[in-house]
Symmetry: D2
């Protein structure tokens, strides 16, 4: 992990698909242990979608909806704050709603999601994330485990490679070691992302 220009060594936690599946199965078991009968699963865009989809399979809940939360700095404001950019359009009145995200880091996303969804008149809202950071101001009702490391989810690999290479000067080989992913696949998605951003900026010029 040498070569990372960071004040102190960052610890990475690459998460395998197997850990994602076992984490979701673990959460499903915890939920069932409370005798809770989930009616609707809401996946937070974009981090929560894949665990939400797996929980839908494990819990046999086929009513799913999306809720998108993005962080923006408002006009004249200094700090970014979470904003609802796509409201849920599934009826959840008097229903038990499970809101799913991949990680609760600051905890702001889930806090705003729950406050927002309370206005729909659900019977109950519970939240689940695969991981929770120790400093999170919000504790999800259900989670798989706690970690203070930089989590690399399977759905963030390309994003992570771009960030580690472009912003931290790491090599493909170093990223391969950190993520536990093969050099070939890391190179492949790195090149795909680069080509996509080139296409995108060319298109922006028209």
């Amino acid at each position: 992990m040498t070569g990372i220009p960071h004040p102190q060594p960052t610890r990475f936690k690459p998460v395998s698909w197997r850990e994602v599946e076992e984490g979701c199965a673990h959460i499903a078991e915890k939920i069932l242990a409370t005798n809770l009968n989930v009616d609707v699963i809401v996946g937070i865009l974009r981090g929560g979608w894949i665990p939400a989809r797996l929980l839908s399979d494990y819990l046999g809940v086929d009513t799913m909806g999306a809720l998108e939360v993005k962080f923006y700095r408002g006009v004249g404001e200094t700090a970014e704050k979470p904003v609802i950019t796509q409201p849920l359009i599934v009826n959840v009145r008097d229903k038990v709603v499970l809101v799913v995200d991949d990680v609760s880091d600051t905890g702001k996303t889930l806090t705003v999601a729950v406050n927002f969804l309370m206005h729909y008149g659900p019977r109950k809202i519970v939240t689940a994330t695969l991981y929770v950071k120790p400093w999170s101001m919000y504790r999800p009702d259900f989670y798989h485990s706690e970690t203070d490391a930089w989590i690399i989810f399977p759905w963030d690999k390309a994003e992570t490679v771009v960030e580690l290479v472009a912003k931290r000067g790491l090599s493909i080989e170093e990223v391969s070691k950190i993520t536990g992913e093969s050099i070939d696949f890391i190179r492949r998605i790195f090149e795909t992302r680069n080509k996509a951003s080139t296409t995108s900026s060319r298109a922006g010029q028209d």
Copy 2:
């Protein structure tokens, strides 16, 4: 695969997460080879969500939306037809839209999705699926490969186990062999699904 009470031996194609990732990377590469610059990715609920999320990572497209299509038999009708149960609420006017599903089987889902989204005035709609069945009446613009087997996606494992055990009388061990998944994990999600449906029917009694 003996023991399956089916007119003719069903061939199964269990898909690993590695194949999902490589299939999505393959699709991303095909899209970029056409110099197409995708603005918005629309994931079809519930099958298309996980490949849509991976393509969002590989293509660097962070605007995603959901479109839910379900099959229903209308009043007085004999055949099921695809119905939009959650419309897209992302603005795609004059945008290039990539619609993603896991498989194009009959082809009806993608056909209705494209017809529906055309009304939003997009600049262009293209479609992608991991797999396509040879008999599909609709050919996605981009796909990973063709197969006539019963595909078992990683996000359908619990659903598949329940179906193979309950409706076809297979044992956990047989399902483990078919899916290439460990007996332990198959048993675990099978028990979770069973417990969930028990909770659910109990709740239904109140």
Copy 3:
């Protein structure tokens, strides 16, 4: 107004279309006097829609959206509370939003609407109603006038006739006098509503 079985004589305030137009023009002038530049008008379903549409004409704002608020009693609760039954699906981030209703009575509808819409990250939310009741716990930013009477809006005539005749035993002639509407038109919409509810209950029997 004799014959109304009510503890104390109810005072009615029938509102003419002319008063609706002048009230909306008055609100538009008040808004402009503050140099506020409205980007989006949100009409609360179902009371706010007609004034919202007129304000859209007077202020030249052609971006409008709907927000539906209904009152329900939750499971195990004694009091009804306002619930969002249709969220706004127009993007209002960093926009000036004008939320419109016909009257602020308890004030609960506008309170929940504003709290809900704050999550979308607007630049500013202001509210307007034609009338406000003296006991309303919420004062709209802009309103035409205050009254403690039972307001009869032009879009509530059929509802009002049904209620006054069926629940209070008034005659068509008495309702005509109260509303200032012709006996013929009152009778016409009363018969329409009755026929509609008969059709509706017949349909419910199949």
Copy 4:
């Protein structure tokens, strides 16, 4: 009507609120005469909203939704075409849906609205407009009457005044005569619109 710089004298049809109410009552009666039991009323934004709201009162249907259709010229296209800019988010599967607009002129708006809503799997869709133009390529299922004049609806007064004064050089007095509205009210909403557009362009400069 002298002074209008138009190839041939335009005939105007100003519609009073009384005519709006009687037109909507007429439509409600026609619908009930067919024994149709409407479940959901969809108002087309922005023209259809006020008649939709009145029909909701007359028919006693309290489930309403919005559908916005706007005309745009696509990239590289010569003619404008109707585009869905806000999809309906009310569930209408197996329901009888009444789609309402103020006028069917070219007929394109209702055609696209019906085609779009068919994808939601309704039991039946019927359409209603107050007026229909003789050349409309689409005949609504229910309408009040036919006219080839330039219709001035009560919710288009300010828009109409601005257009007749700015683009056709008419005076406030001429517009007053055409619309049958008092000079005072015409002047009032004309000044409001002008002030609003000044505020708006000032705001655009920041």
